[in-house]
Amino acid sequence: MNVYVTGIGVVSALGIGVAANQDALASGRTGIVSCETRKGPKLKGCLSLSDEVLKSRLGLELSAQVPRTAMLAMLAAEEALGDTVMHTDIRSGFINGTTTGGMDLSEAYFSALYLEEDDSEMVKLLTHDLGTVTQLVNQRLGFTNYVNTLSTACSSAANAIMLGARMIKAGMIDRVLVGGVDALTDFTVDGFGSLMIYDSEHCRPFDEERVGLNLGEGAGFLLIENDKSLAQSQNKVLARCAGWANANDAYHQTGTSPEGNGAALAMIEALKVAQLTPSAIDYLNAHGTATKNNDNSELSAIDRVFEGVDVDFSSTKANTGHTLAAAGGIEAVYGIMSILTGAVFPNLNWKNKMLSSDRKPVLTYTKKEINAVMSNSFGFGGNSTSLIFTKA
């Protein structure tokens, strides 16, 4: 059973929509900027539009209680869905990966409570949980057959895509919108800060001198369909979702094994599902968070899986920041943009080759024919996912 990608939508610090993100990636622009916080300035990949502006753009009442997370997801989901209309003969679903849920509003309540002793906004907690964000988005989309929320840390969106693709392959559903979203919160920024892996400067993926990540926010969604759904929607096929795999690294709560065992397992298994050899991968969008641990472990895994193959790879985390649950969705969109435009996106801020490997990432925007891309996403708990997309 073929799994066709027929719609893509993305929001990140680089802007709203595929076109804005394409322009920024091609020109090597970063969306990571210095933001004021209670604990001083922090570099974050922040979409430079306030909640109020997003509400008016979405046609929501200014007084409506809608977390920023839900709004970012609405923008990307609606772009991916395009003009596709629901049809009673087509079983359709929505699978959303998120970790922060409506926490941005919960924090506004806590901040009022603790700094101003104002407990009047407790109602803000009602949109806290992850599933509520999915429901708020789906109120606008209207999927009925299957709606689910996945949370597996930084591989959430990638796992949502994998679940959707597997459901289509198993004949359980005809059409499904898959991906993920996360907004910036103090909970995550302070948390990663406490792990001493938050770079106070711009992050440097795959550079020997890298010290950590910058967090970002955004959403990325794909519309995927089977043949039956495609015949009804008449959507243009952008790419195929060809391979997927998830493996457990079983090494450390928040780190990955030095050898990248989980990452290697996921990449090998995804290649098997896609029935491709490593040399068939024209571009690898790496997880590449710019932490010491991730990049070391991921590059070891790449060395093993792509032994003897000089694969073009880069991390786009220096453009967007690490968008946590959304990363797998945003980067799946970037992978499909790579296929559609025939280009490999550059890895920013790279200067020094890592000592542990001979490989270096792609540093300039490079045009070439792209038939197959791989996209990696690895999460806390050892949750490692690899996806493969191929030309339509």
Partner: protein, 185 residues
Amino acid sequence: MSQQVCHIKWNADGLIVDGQQADLLPHEGGLKELLAAYYKSLGLNYPKFHKMDNLSKLGVLGVAMLSAQYDLSAYADDAIAMHFQNASASLDTDWVHQQNINEGKAASPANFVYTLPNIVLGEIAIRNKWYGENLFVVADSFDLERWMKTNQVLFDQNKAEAVLGGWVEVLEEKFELELYFVVKQ
């Protein structure tokens, strides 16, 4: 088809292992101290245990009790799937982390790493060197029949030879573990 070979039920009322009921071990203090008492009585030599949050400790101890009852070592490292559920996710630790932020204190990595419920699966996998399927579902309450249905999918697709899991819930001093080991027939 599958067969249930081991069952542990553990909450404030006591501990039942395969139908054998026992009182809780004597301890001074709350849940943390209770879990420490079981760590000691099980003779676990695993210093990482002391860094875990109560949810992970409860899961790790439950699996240690189960493996004392039933030999798990014969299984290949990816043959045992883990499938756990609870109602409060990692809220017990989320709250502590959020409270540090609310009060303007420095966030602690010791808390932050446990602000995801699937970390308990990670801890069990790390301790036992298991690389099989794992799934953590947040649900209002434990429905054994539904839990078994999902396990059956894992068996039917040859994803696992056995499933270990059930209900692992901690919120402040309240805790409840209902652990099952089911094997494919």
